[in-house]
Symmetry: C2
Subunit: 101 residues, 2 copies
Amino acid sequence: MAIKNLSARKIDERLAGLNQGLQTPWRVQNDKLNKEFLFQDFVAAFGFMTKAALVAESMNHHPEWFNVYNRVRVDLTTHEAGGISSRDFELARRMEVMAAA
Amino acid sequence: MAIKNLSARKIDERLAGLNQGLQTPWRVQNDKLNKEFLFQDFVAAFGFMTKAALVAESMNHHPEWFNVYNRVRVDLTTHEAGGISSRDFELARRMEVMAAA
């Protein structure tokens, strides 16, 4: 079953839900679901990435991400849908759980 | 002991040595030692990153890097030296060993 991109209105709705209670919100940037995570140091940042990598692989849905030292910038999009899909929100949600653990 | 950045001439010399026998060479881009590694898939790419992360942490010298699926773009610089130092070449050399393993 093909995965579909979400309408702007749906994205706004899902963003509001995702960002509830978060200090640093996700936002849409360049048609991708974007957030920069800050950790204590490189070990914490890469620890997060390792957990997220296992989840991403199991979802067969992979992030675009940039890391330098304690910063991890994440961009989520669904190439086959040509935009942001529910998979991006699911990965974002799971990343939040992992970042908080 | 403060780490010093390398002169343009030294960088050229070290680059020639580093790139010997490599299919895809390192180059200097925006005053950083740059290379894009291509792997078979995400597992291979992130496996490389995991090995490189352990080495980087042990060197206390961390890369700037971007990953999407099977691609890992690496930029190396030494902030305290304000440019490229011998540490960047050492990390690049060790990354090549890990990428080939």
